[in-house]
Symmetry: C2
Subunit: 197 residues, 2 copies
């Protein structure tokens, strides 16, 4: 046998914590933060409520961990999308939008937590912590928008919130099948771009 065991854990190991995160993300996303109890989450992974406190020191702590994973997913997706350095600005932002949408719509439960409208249901004390994470992410888009050849009258900040609104709103109407994230990104950017032709 292997003389130096590759760090085998006592019972469940590190992936039990991960299982709790997954369960929490799923239940937060569907039933909300307040609507989900510690007992629900622990029960979903076959644990007793008290045992959860070995892995997380409070329910809020658990939420923050879930939220961080959510933001990380968005950042990874957008990094990957912009990795191939597209230098045409409209193509670049369309790629970023498509990446954002694919996580938002098909990225599983973690992504749903990040929505600011969702965040408002969280304990107010944690709002600064969570918003700081998100602001950092949005800055990627601000850079891409700064590079766009827009009409001089266009307020780039309003352009950003308009675009973000369209994108994030898709969570409320999107159903798998009819449109893909790429379709939607292309259509939205197309509407904002046509005048340049």
């Amino acid at each position: 046998m292997a003389t130096t065991a590759p760090r085998v854990e006592a019972r469940g190991g590190e992936n039990r914590r991960e299982a709790l995160l997954d369960a929490a993300a799923a239940m937060f996303a569907t039933k909300g933060y307040d609507g989900t109890s510690i007992r629900d989450i622990a029960g979903a992974v076959g644990m007793l409520p008290g045992s959860l406190y070995y892995h997380f020191k409070s329910k809020e702590d658990l939420l923050i961990a879930v939220y961080r994973k959510g933001v990380a997913r968005f950042e990874a997706a957008i990094d990957a999308a912009l990795g191939g350095t597209v230098d045409e600005p409209w193509q670049a932002i369309e790629a970023a939008c498509a990446a954002h949408l694919s996580i938002l719509l098909d990225g599983g439960d973690y992504a749903r937590i990040v929505n600011p409208e969702f965040v408002r249901s969280f304990p107010p004390a944690m709002l600064p912590t969570l918003n700081a994470e998100r602001d950092r992410y949005e800055r990627h888009f601000e850079k891409l928008i700064a590079a766009l050849p827009l009409d001089p009258q266009t307020d780039r900040w309003l352009f950003k919130v308009a675009l973000f609104g369209s994108l994030n709103w898709s969570q409320t109407w999107y159903r798998k099948g009819r449109y893909t994230p790429h379709d939607i990104a292309a259509a939205f950017i197309g509407m904002l771009r046509l005048k340049q032709a």
Copy 2:
């Protein structure tokens, strides 16, 4: 003195119910449905928790009443805005957007409840009831969009959700002062319209 007293109520009268609705709207909007207790609401108007059940038969019943008032506000605003029959399609939709925004952003607590992202935190059983109210409202916009002279390639349904997304998202970033609802409506419509020039 007035011989026929103008319908003076026993104690609080009909406006006590209204006071409860106001308190509920305010607290739902800031702390969410689950985050607000019957005791909070009753206490805000100087009532005991049990007494609330004289006016509303359940907490869900109270929420529905608040929600209805919220939707009614939007409908009244848009009716007023389109009353002066603007027949230029772009002007008409801009007016509708401005009306929508003025309620959404400065329309008080009732309006905040109507946001679909907010609704998701409600008991799932009441979702059909609430969504039916909202769908009826959105149909006003579908009509206005149908009248727009858009590029043939533009999907009008996607146009609608993009516009609605931009508008409703403003709730997350709007702060009084910098932009007025009219400014925002003009800017958003301007971005989507420029190509027609």
